[in-house]
Subunit: 242 residues, 2 copies
């Protein structure tokens, strides 16, 4: 049987999604829990790696098991066994060939910036605290230049081994509510650290620390023209498209 | 000097506001931090006790110190020393006779209920997870009966030594957003566990587990007619009036 499972996780205390031998990971905890629940070894395949401390609101993975259990029963049973930092939202049975990573058609990420002078305990490790005032309207305008199909080499962590850095960004948006600025970006795929470098660049431009236009930065394909890599705690994998 | 300090705290890992010898408390951490900051012993007086695990969005206390420091400097300096679970929002110098508890004219509390079938890691220890569907409109209607001046003996933890249980509730409100029901209540004073018993009673009535009207429960002054004491993690001291 193959189960498509949608989950939320607070990544604060995880070393990302991907299994590691000596660090707590979401895949590690989920696999261990699924094996306890199904009573046999299972395979858990995620839609993408996530960095340490990154969160997810609708992460998708597929769990392969020999046992047929109602999706409803899987949600309920697994949730009683999982730690508070991970919760299953939904489960459905899918064909044997469904693969959470290969079949993924696109993703939407969100990045939260707490843009108030003082920090907020309720957003600790859940947003970047950036006390210098930012202009969300300018940020929204600047971000539009990411939209479309471009070679995003300038927005890829240096040292990445990807040879084809062309990605299509479907949409970008910036909202502000109660001092929290949220940058949303959806696309058919993302390079390593791409969203975090986008955010760092938008902040730099907002503060007048980078005079080059986003379009020029993209066109020149040089990582050094883009901004800093914003820290992981503000990043949320918001949705995955199939 | 007397400083009126407004702070936020995530109460998850505190045994409430009030100093205790062998447990972490907000007053304990704040006093210790203020003494490090001011470089002398200070007195820290809170607007009210809070229970273990209860949160605050605008808690007010006053700090008495011999040293004159700019309120701006106190906010900035203290925030660099405080743990992530406590943040100072505002500070102002006040007259020597200002007393955070005695001068308090009223308070507003909020109680958050995550009313979705599955839990949410981002609200863990920050809302009551109550999976049975509730009707916020009925809850809003029921809650109106709390408004006004009443003897709230029925809504006071049994064993309390208060002799005068008459309190005035200025306003109540219930909202719902993304599966989170928020009950707001403001008044000139609250008895021990009063808001949590109000919430338990509203839930019981919502589910048809208690047929007595709120007005009748108030009038009969018997704790046994009211509902369960809702757990502390959903409760927030939202605002304090002077």
């Amino acid at each position: 049987m193959n189960y498509k499972v949608t989950l939320l996780f607070d990544g604060s205390h995880f070393s990302g999604w991907q299994f590691q031998k000596n660090a707590p990971t979401v895949q590690g905890v989920l696999t261990e829990t699924a094996e306890r629940f199904f009573g046999e070894s299972v395979s858990v395949t995620g839609c993408s790696r996530t960095d340490s401390k990154v969160h997810a609101e609708n992460y998708v993975c597929n769990i392969k098991s020999q046992r047929a259990i109602s999706p409803e029963g899987i949600v309920r049973g697994m949730n009683t066994l999982l730690p508070p930092s991970i919760a299953i939202k939904d489960c459905e049975e899918v064909g044997e060939d469904f693969h959470a990573r290969y079949d993924c058609k696109g993703k939407e990420y969100r990045y939260k910036i707490l843009n108030t002078r003082e920090r907020n305990p309720f957003l600790h490790s859940r947003a970047l605290h950036f006390p210098t005032p930012l202009d969300p309207v300018k940020m929204r305008e600047d971000a539009k230049a990411f939209q479309g199909t471009h070679d995003f080499t300038a927005f890829m962590a240096s040292g990445s081994k990807i040879t084809d850095a062309v990605r299509t960004i479907y949409n970008t948006h910036v909202t502000e509510e109660s001092g929290v600025i949220t940058f949303s970006v959806s696309g058919n795929g993302f390079l390593y650290n791409m969203v975090r470098i986008m955010v760092g660049t938008l902040i730099d431009k907002n503060l007048g620390r980078n005079e080059m236009s986003i379009s020029d930065i993209i066109e020149k394909k040089d990582r050094r023209n883009a901004g800093f890599t914003a820290p992981p705690e503000g990043l949320y994998l918001h949705r995955v498209y199939y």
